[in-house]
């Protein structure tokens, strides 16, 4: 007999293994897709005022585009095997270095946004489910609808306008830290953690202030699905036999709602949170652009517009790997939330 933890780990390992073929597929597919797309990166990057045919050939050679596609693919796969994702023409840096620097920025933003969204959405959903059809329920619905209707860049620009431009409360929306603040030694890449590790409270506060507006504008957008799913799931849970029983034996309101109903209702919320997280990571490009956040999504978009192959391929691979990881974490969370669950 394996213990509960052991079983979870074995399950996680098996899951991880079974996702490898999918990752490989993503790798090859992205590689081919980038080459099928119209647009020759060599021509784009040779745009100096005198760049002619010779310069274009030069760049093509530099990017390895002068070789036939199958040969390029073999080189690419062998490079990946050696942990080399290629070099970005756009930033002039190795893609791996770019991603390593930018991923923590995106993760920090997304985690914060998700946290804000969950803290806001779960109580909202629960309150709405407790009084379905009431003014509160409608209020929550209205709030969610507004959150979804307003695209993130609009809410972002709006927040900037109010909190930075009009009120002057927020710091200038340019990246992760005020340009005049010196950075802490990079340990985790998460500025809020690095500052704390360095014991620099002022710096930590500056980083948090910088993080707030983009995180809130992202959170506003995802509160809706989380709150709605919490509400729906709570309604089912509240109407079930065990809640009726719990009520009938006179358990406290808190015990009935939180311990019994909510714990049973939380599974779909976790699933959605996982999906929302992965989507946010890739789709927060607008927020990253508006707040000049040096994250991976805006990096990938810029690369895509200029047909810079290596960064786009690196980004897709990174996203696919993260997706696998997030799903894994969601699976493990299932096990913790509901010990009966065992997904094989």
């Amino acid at each position: 007999m394996t213990t509960g933890l052991g079983a979870t780990l074995v399950r996680a390992g098996r899951r991880l293994l079974s996702s490898l073929p999918a990752l490989f597929g993503v790798l090859v597919f992205t590689f081919l897709l980038m080459r099928v797309l119209p647009g020759d990166p060599a021509v784009f990057f040779a745009s100096g005022p005198n760049a002619g045919k010779e310069e274009i050939e030069q760049i093509r050679k530099q990017m390895g585009l002068n070789k036939p596609v199958p040969e390029q693919l073999v080189y690419y796969l062998s490079d990946i095997g050696h942990g080399n994702l290629g070099r970005s023409m756009m930033t002039g840096q190795p893609v791996l270095k770019d991603l390593r620097e930018r991923l923590p920025a995106s993760l920090e933003l997304t985690f914060t946004a998700l946290l804000i969204a969950l803290i806001a959405a779960v109580p909202l959903g629960v309150v709405a489910a407790l009084r379905p059809g009431s003014a509160i329920d409608h209020g929550v619905r209205l709030f969610c609808a507004l959150g979804v209707c307003v695209p993130t860049f609009v809410s972002g620009l709006l927040l900037i306008y109010v909190f930075y431009y009009l009120l002057g409360l927020a710091p200038d929306p340019t990246g992760r830290i005020d340009v005049f603040t010196s950075l802490p030694p990079s340990r985790t890449g998460f500025l809020s953690i690095d500052f704390l590790l360095a014991g620099d409270v002022e710096g930590w506060w500056a980083a948090c202030r910088q993080l707030m507006l983009p995180a809130v504008s992202m959170a506003l957008f995802v509160i809706a699905p989380l709150a709605r799913i919490t509400r729906a799931s709570m309604l089912v849970s509240l109407g079930s036999d065990f809640v009726r029983t719990a009520r009938s034996v006179g358990l406290s309101w808190y015990k009935v709602v939180v311990t019994y109903a909510l714990r049973n209702a939380i599974l779909p919320v976790i699933t959605i949170a996982g999906i929302v997280f992965s989507t946010m990571l890739g789709a927060n490009v607008l927020v990253e652009k508006v707040f000049s956040w040096p994250g991976v999504a805006s990096y990938a978009l810029d690369a895509l517009l200029s047909s810079d192959y290596a960064p786009v391929q690196g980004f897709v691979l990174l996203m696919a790997s993260l997706f696998v990881l997030v799903n894994l974490v969601v699976d493990i969370c299932y096990g913790i939330a509901d010990p009966r669950v065992s997904i094989e």
Binding site: T91, I119, T181, F291
Partner: protein
């Protein structure tokens, strides 16, 4: 319960406000001595010669490296712009041109030092210029336009004198040495990092600087920001003293509205790439200094592929030229911020000037356009596409809509194509686009240079793919024409051909709108269309 719900619903916002209140941003005391420049683009290499380097990289290299010579500046309609005709020494204390124009001799400054403290010698200059014409880098094609093609042309006379020999007396040789690419590199330092595969240390110089420029690189985060600090011993500026600002922060802020907010709030000192609408409203508020200079070395076109039917017919091209709603386009795309290149009147039908670009005698005249279409044998019109790239959409999108509407009136059906930048440049290079809008820029704007580079040969920059032997012959001849009156005459001939052939339609020269804090002084429009940080100071 109503209140509970209200509280919960707004908890997020309330928390935010709490977090944002309190402490004002801690600013260093040196804020007044720091220049914060924000831009939508980014620096991607420290050596401007690397293929693919951006305009921001060009601008950075102007401050981190010195060249032998530099352009002076002059006032044009009350605004400072670079002056192609005044070439001052930078690393060269003085220079001589031999009477036959075949020899340029440069005398180096005795006190010039690289940023690592070693003196700048003729050996470094020779190595740097050799690199520029030998290594597979951007400088090669640039120096070619000044008749510098081989390392043999650069000779060390003594440790402080260098001689450049030319095959022909080329007017553009000296100005070429003041452009972005021929940077003078610390050759000892660079050679330490050269490899057999890379004898010119291009890989190392891409990520390190080894120059004698006014500013020393402090941090370089590609795609995010670059911080440079002043070199106190630098004295190559016109005033013979170090640059004004102690530090310059060059920060990438992709969203134009945010850039506008930053400069309006005083958090940024200078920005040159705002949207025309933002510039207009900032100018109206009057708090900031707005310096608008028509980019007199850049032109925006509506181009037609002269080899593709129906645009191979000159009458079709003329019809288009008379069917564009110039004034509306100028207002919609640029809010009128620029210098128009349409609507001239030529009393005797001859060009008024030998300078290119010139104002063309075209205006919206649909009846005339219909006549030309009839003459072309296409009275019913035809269908075509009009393309522009995503990067230009803020100006090109409203313009394209007006083109479509107006051409529709004479029976030409236009489909608007918005292409990603890389795709657009590929299609232009392959000569596949029939009808589109694009822009050009020349660092050394002279009439023959424009015609030779943008109207000659089967190459990418010949947008209209025009193939006119007469035009090519005159332009080539004009290149080495020492006599100014004859040069002017050649220019008029070329302009007359342009107007009768109408290979493409010049629209305007957009303004460079530099928006800056009221305290910033010395802004100059430079040939690379970016900011030269060395020009600036604070009151």
């Amino acid at each position: 319960m109503r209140f509970v719900s209200f509280r919960r619903a707004t908890s997020v916002l309330a928390a935010t406000i709490l977090l944002l209140v309190a402490t004002a941003p801690s600013q260093a005391q040196t804020r007044a001595e720091t220049l914060r420049y924000v831009t939508g683009a980014a620096v991607n290499t420290l050596d401007p010669n690397i293929p693919g380097s951006t305009r921001e990289s060009f601008a950075l290299s102007m401050s981190t490296y010195d060249r032998l010579v530099a352009f002076g500046r002059k006032q044009l309609n009350g605004k400072w712009v670079f002056d192609l005709d005044t070439i001052t020494g930078e690393l060269a204390e003085s220079y001589d041109v031999s009477p036959d124009g075949l020899k340029l001799t440069f005398h180096l400054r005795k006190d010039a030092k690289f940023q690592d403290g070693t003196p700048v010698t003729a050996e470094d200059v020779k190595w740097s210029l050799d690199r520029c014409v030998t290594a597979p880098i951007l400088g090669k094609a640039q120096l070619l336009t000044g008749s510098m093609t081989s390392a043999d042309q650069f000779k060390m006379v003594d440790p402080l004198t260098i001689e450049v020999t030319l095959p022909k007396p080329d007017k553009l040789a000296l100005p070429n040495l003041a452009t972005v690419y021929p940077i003078i590199i610390n050759s000892k330092l660079a050679k330490e990092h050269a490899t057999t595969d890379d004898p010119w240390a291009t890989a190392w110089l891409k990520e390190h600087t080894a120059g004698s420029g006014a500013y020393i690189l402090e941090t370089f985060k590609p795609g995010e920001q670059v911080i440079i600090k002043r070199d106190e011993s630098w004295n190559r500026g016109s005033a013979s003293k170090p640059a004004f600002f102690k530090r310059v922060i060059i920060q990438s802020v992709p969203e134009p509205a945010t850039r506008a907010n930053l400069v309006e709030r005083g958090d940024a000192d200078l920005v040159v790439d705002l949207q025309a609408s933002d510039v207009q409203s900032l100018e109206a508020k009057g708090k900031l200094k707005v310096i608008s200079t028509p980019q007199y070395n850049a032109i925006t076109f509506v181009s037609m592929n002269n080899q593709l039917p129906p645009f191979d017919n000159v009458n079709v091209r003329r019809a288009i030229a008379y069917a564009l709603p110039y004034d509306d386009m100028f207002k919609a795309a640029l809010f009128g911020r620029g210098a128009p290149l349409f609507g001239a009147t030529w009393p005797d039908g001859k060009p008024l000037t030998g300078i290119y670009p010139f104002q063309q005698p075209v205006k919206l005249d649909l009846d005339k356009a219909r006549e030309y279409l009839k003459a072309a044998g296409l009275p019913e019109g035809f269908s075509t596409t009009f393309s522009f790239n995503v990067g230009q959409s803020s100006t090109a999108e409203p313009m394209a809509a007006l083109v479509k509407e107006s051409l529709g009136k004479i029976g030409i059906k236009v489909d608007i194509q918005k292409l990603p930048d890389a795709q657009m440049s590929t299609q232009i290079n392959e000569k596949k686009l029939p009808f589109y809008t694009e822009g050009i820029v020349a660092w050394l704007p002279s009439t023959d240079y424009f015609y030779r580079n943008f109207y000659t040969g089967n190459q990418r920059w010949n947008y209209s793919s025009i193939n006119n032997p007469e035009l090519v012959a005159i332009a080539q001849e004009a290149r080495f024409e020492p006599d100014k009156t004859k040069y002017e005459e050649d220019g008029r001939k070329l302009n007359a051909i342009h107007n009768s052939e109408m290979p493409q339609i010049m629209l305007w020269q957009p303004n460079q709108d530099a928006v800056m804090a009221a305290t910033i002084e010395g802004y100059t429009y430079e040939f690379h269309r970016q900011v030269d940080y060395r020009d600036l100071s604070r009151k």
